[in-house]
């Protein structure tokens, strides 16, 4: 199991990703500088990490989406390879057109960092298969631009094709505006590509995997990936 973590100037969750995949899960995990033109051979998963790539200049993720390594990440995705984008990584995948939509400024205008509950909307994905549909897990968010937005007609299509992987919810799994921290449409916290192999999410599962550091609500995502790639 080999994981590539692309590192952009301004990435600051790359080491969280390396720790979760490398130290906690024990996978062969390789940081890849954004100027590289090729992923390491036999990469199974590309983990696009959070942070403030290129200082969030122009729009969050807009400049990183043009980095040389992105062409090979697109090729990997087009061939059915797994790509997980978290926080700024999600924004980058949207700007690179690997996922639909955009992440706007939080409704409150504030940077929000706190734990949230997520409900699993799709339990048949490589990223969720070790979890049950409707299961609730707790992970942190830390972002100022997580307000997921999509053209209303496209939003209907996204929902209809089961493109929503995770939704913000209450501890008991209840859905509603009160549980959406950032104003995201339909309480969307994470979406998946039509092929089911590219997932973007604002919350940070990689920050909730090591019992030394606190709760481990994010482990479900990593156990799912281990299962999907046959290393469980």
């Amino acid at each position: 199991m080999r994981v590539a973590v692309p590192v952009f100037p301004g990435s600051n969750c790359d080491h969280d990703a390396l720790h979760a995949c490398g130290t906690v899960m024990g996978w062969d995990t390789i940081p890849v500088w954004h100027q590289e033109t090729h992923l390491p051979p036999n990469t199974d998963l590309v983990f696009v990490p959070g942070g403030f790539s290129y200082g969030d200049y122009l729009r969050c993720g807009a400049i990183a989406a043009l980095a040389p390594i992105m062409a090979d990440i697109k090729r990997h995705a087009d061939n059915g390879g797994l790509v997980l984008g978290v926080c700024n990584g999600f924004q980058i995948l949207c700007e690179a057109h690997l996922l639909p939509g955009a992440l706007l400024r939080n409704e409150s205008l504030r940077f929000i960092h706190r734990d949230v509950h997520l409900r699993v909307e799709r339990a048949d994905l490589p990223f969720t298969r070790a979890m049950a549909a409707g299961a609730v897990f707790q992970v942190p968010i830390a972002h100022a631009e997580g307000n997921f937005t999509l053209d209303p007609a496209e939003l209907i299509d996204l929902e209809a094709r089961g493109g929503v992987a995770f939704r913000y919810c209450s501890a008991a799994g209840g859905i509603g505006e009160d549980h959406v921290p950032n104003g995201a449409m339909n309480g969307i916290a994470g979406i998946v590509s039509a092929g089911g192999n590219v997932l973007g999410m604002m919350p940070h599962p990689e920050r909730a995997v090591d019992p030394v550091l606190g709760p481990t609500g994010g482990l479900g995502v990593f156990r799912s990936l281990a299962e999907a790639l046959g290393v469980a």
Partner: protein
């Protein structure tokens, strides 16, 4: 030629920044509504044919300067 690209959030897209500024203006007693905040990009583009420069600026908008999910642009060739 000097080109000015003005990027605005599309109508209907919530602009919390504009809303905050509007509230700030109300605090000073100004009567305003529908405050929207955008971005202004100026650049020098080689060429002498305004139509051709305009077309090139449009291509730049499509490639990078504008995210059509949330933004729209107007281009001025000066």
């Amino acid at each position: 030629m000097k080109v000015r690209v003005s990027v605005q959030l599309k109508p209907g897209i919530l602009d919390p920044q504009g809303k905050a500024v509007e509230q700030g203006l109300h605090g000073f007693g100004f009567e305003v509504e529908h405050v929207r905040i955008g971005r202004l990009i100026e650049m020098d583009v080689p060429g002498t044919d305004p139509a051709e420069v305009q077309a090139r600026a449009l291509a730049m908008c499509e490639k990078l300067l504008v995210n059509p999910v949330m933004e729209k642009a107007s281009i001025e060739v000066l």
